[in-house]
């Protein structure tokens, strides 16, 4: 199987290819064409405007319908990927083979993507607060209050530098086509499967092929995408986040440092919330930025750590096709060991205890890969370095911290689940600017309501709301034509 580059409708077979191998057996799964950054830069300069124009030539509602069809094709149909027919079962096998994710988790991620595509109309309505899609298409229009509003597209395409380790993130870019914006995707080197299958499903469903680009390659491809696209998303480490912080053209997704916070009024009933804590830590093999990496409480923290450890500590490594498998492998040789050594060093600090120590070794070495079994750490204060750590497997710190200083100490938090009925504390949480998503009550941090924005509203990122005044009664069809012409 050979995954070619796709240059806004034109397949391109490179002379350079990356071989993707099965993480356990080393068998070749696919070859992926590798292209260079200059090709992306050149294609963006030539084709980005045409990508948006191809979408604007369609009726916005029809685009949404076709995306819903694409969702069904992606999740249930057989589409051609890499020159061969790929069924959903094939997709799951391929994705598991190169990412190390158990097949059961690959299937679960497919359902998330299907949900987003199937509910695209509801999502757009919610994210745009009821704005007619025609307004995004034309750039301006009258909303239901009879007021002219204008939304100006900030880029004809959204660039995406996608990760290899978390197939769950693809839900973030699925609405983009429905917003009349093209896609230029750099697939993750180990996980090209979702972008390739999704692109194939979209095109088969009738989305114009010239609206989508797939550019697999080395890091300079990512740099070219960021450089050539007016708006981009990149997924990476804390270092990546720091590099692009403050760049309005780039939305950067890094570690989430998601947390569960137990208020003093609820903490004595902590056992009631054990299921929520376990699910938040361990769902999707703990790989997501929305997985809980720390639980804060003022008391009972040792008991909480011990109870979570009892639930997830015994988890064993299982073959990826075992329906009971829940742990993903670290497919890059040496990484699991290095991570474990880092954790061991953190555990050795004062005030830190390893709550899963009694459940056997955490690091499991394979022939070509490694695993880390779920790990629970207790910190007697937020001071130890490990209290701020996040890793790509089920790992959680249970941190003892007085409620009064909790919000000062938690640091940046993508998702906070707050277990408290204390109105004053709830208000402090609402006002806390370093918390992004906020759940009140026993909602797992991993449970997302797709009708609400995630790490900023995608519409606000792609469109700028600005003033547009029209003399007279506003009925000037020439402006509409001008708006359309300006995008072609």
């Amino acid at each position: 199987m050979h995954l070619q580059a796709f240059r806004f409708g034109k397949p391109y077979e490179s002379l350079e290819r990356q071989t993707l191998v099965h993480f356990l057996t080393g068998e070749t799964v696919a070859e992926v064409s590798q292209i260079g950054g200059a090709m992306v830069g050149r294609d963006l300069a030539k084709s980005a405007k045409a990508a948006r124009a191809a979408l604007l030539a369609m009726d916005p509602e029809e685009v949404v319908e076709r995306l819903q069809t694409a969702g069904n094709l992606y999740a249930l149909g057989t589409v051609e990927v890499g020159g061969v027919p790929q069924s959903p079962e094939d997709f799951v096998r391929h994705q598991s083979a190169t990412t190390g994710l158990p097949e059961s988790l690959c299937k679960a991620n497919m359902q998330k993507n299907l949900f987003v595509l199937s509910n695209m109309d509801r999502m757009l309505d919610a994210l745009s607060r009821g704005l007619s899609p025609e307004i995004l298409w034309r750039g301006y229009g009258k909303e239901h209050r009879d007021v002219i509003v204008s939304y100006q597209a900030q880029s004809p395409v959204l660039g995406l530098v996608l990760p290899s380790n978390s197939p769950g993130v693809h839900t973030l870019w699925l609405p983009v086509i429905a917003l009349g914006v093209g896609l230029v995707l750099k697939p993750g080197s180990q996980e090209p499967w979702t972008p390739y299958r999704m692109a194939a499903a979209m095109i088969e469903a009738g989305i114009p092929s010239e609206a989508i680009g797939l550019y697999p390659g080395p890091t300079d491809v990512g740099a070219a995408i960021l450089n050539g696209s007016g708006r981009s998303m990149i997924f990476g480490s804390a270092k990546t986040v720091a590099q692009y912080a403050g760049d309005p053209r780039v939305q950067v997704h890094g570690p989430g440092f998601s947390k569960i916070i137990l208020g003093d009024d609820c903490v004595d009933d902590w056992e009631k919330y054990l299921d929520v804590m376990v699910e938040s830590v361990a769902a999707n093999s703990g790989r997501g930025c929305i997985n809980t990496s720390a639980i804060y409480a003022s008391r009972h923290t040792r008991e909480i750590a011990a109870a979570i450890a009892e639930r997830i500590g015994p988890t064993e490594v299982k073959p990826p096709d075992d329906p009971e498998a829940t742990l993903a492998a670290f497919t890059v040789p040496g990484v699991a060991k290095a991570v474990w050594e880092q954790i061991e060093a953190g555990i050795a600090a004062d005030g830190v205890t390893h709550a899963t120590a009694d459940y056997g070794p955490r690091f499991v070495e394979g022939e070509r890969c490694g695993w880390l079994r779920p790990t629970v750490v207790h910190c007697s204060s937020p001071d130890p370095e490990i209290a701020q750590a996040e890793y790509m497997f089920p790992f959680v710190n249970v941190v003892e911290c007085p409620q009064a200083s909790m919000l000062e100490r938690i640091g940046p938090t993508l998702v906070a689940t707050a277990l408290t009925d204390d109105a004053a504390f709830q208000q402090q949480l609402i006002d806390c600017t370093h918390v992004d998503r906020l759940n009140f009550g026993p909602v797992p941090t991993t449970k997302l309501d797709w009708l609400q924005p995630h790490e900023g509203n995608i519409i606000d990122f792609l469109y700028r709301s600005r003033a547009l005044q029209i003399a007279g009664d506003g009925a000037q069809p020439g402006l509409v034509r001008a708006a359309r012409a300006a995008t072609t």
Partner: protein, 372 residues
Amino acid sequence: MAATDKPVFEVADDASVKAAREKLDAHTVEMMAWHFHPSTGCPFWLEYAQSLSFDPIKDVHCFDDLKKFPPFQDEWLRGGPVRRWAPKGLEGQPLYVFETGGTTGIPKSRVNSRDFRTDYEMFSETLPEEYFPKGANWLMLGPSGPRRLRLAIEHLAQYRGGICFCVDLDPRWVVKLIKKGWMEHLEAYKQHCIDQAITILEAGHDIRCMFTTPKLLESLALGLEKKGTTIHKAGITGIFSGGTEFTPQWTRFATEELLDGAFMTPTYGNTLMGLAASRPVTPADGYTIAYYAPQPRAVIELVDFDDPNTVVPYGGTGRVKLTTLTKETFVPGFLERDEGERELPYAKYPWDGVSGVRPFHELASATTVGVY
């Protein structure tokens, strides 16, 4: 090229290969007589010879006998006094010092008198007149400062009857920007260089030939496209380009999409070796980039990773081992920071070549390449 594939280029016949080897052997003996005779050799080699268990003048009868020398340590080239490398036989000649690397610490240096001119005069003979017309003016868009490249390109232009326009580029600053993660500054510096190049190309100087690196060639082509023109339409007919980042795919992309019909010849070189030309790059050959050193002045061998005295079979992968044999410089068996595949002798260059040049895999992660 894999050893089992039938070559699509003209392989040198046995007689030519033999003749080239005999010439190399004779040249080697001549160079030993020069570098190790007190009246002509440089202080470094004359002193070093005292520590050897053999006499280079008496005991080196052919190129293979150079294996008697321990591997050349490029660290010897760091620091002074630089005159210890100046052969006595060149006393009174004007000397240059050229540097390589040097982003941090003391750079490696090589003294030069005429070598860079000779190397580029020889290289000039490989350039097709159709694309590099004699008398045409040149643009040098590449690393300048203490490197020999700027002077060498200017000499090449002059040797061919042209005048060379230059853009200043400091690669050490580029490497620093990358190491610091200042990518915005990197982009701005690159744009600063490209803007100057475009200004010169648009200034009516009738520039038809240029040297540049692959990365800058990309940026120049994209910059010109933004202005609605192309490298070829800007007047360039021939490009001589150098850098380890030349890959078949990049060359194909450049040929098919960037150059608009301008001709490009890839080269491989450095301050120690000089300049290796490539055999013609063709789609039929899978855009293979195969370099041939300017033998007998420099020799490239592809050697076993664990045994630098064993050459790998044709098509096999090995580390690049360089030997420089000019009157100005003697470098026996220096293991380069590159690896590649051993190529069959080519009719025009009847000795071994190297293709697929890339950073040596054991050092690759610590090497910053393709930066300018």
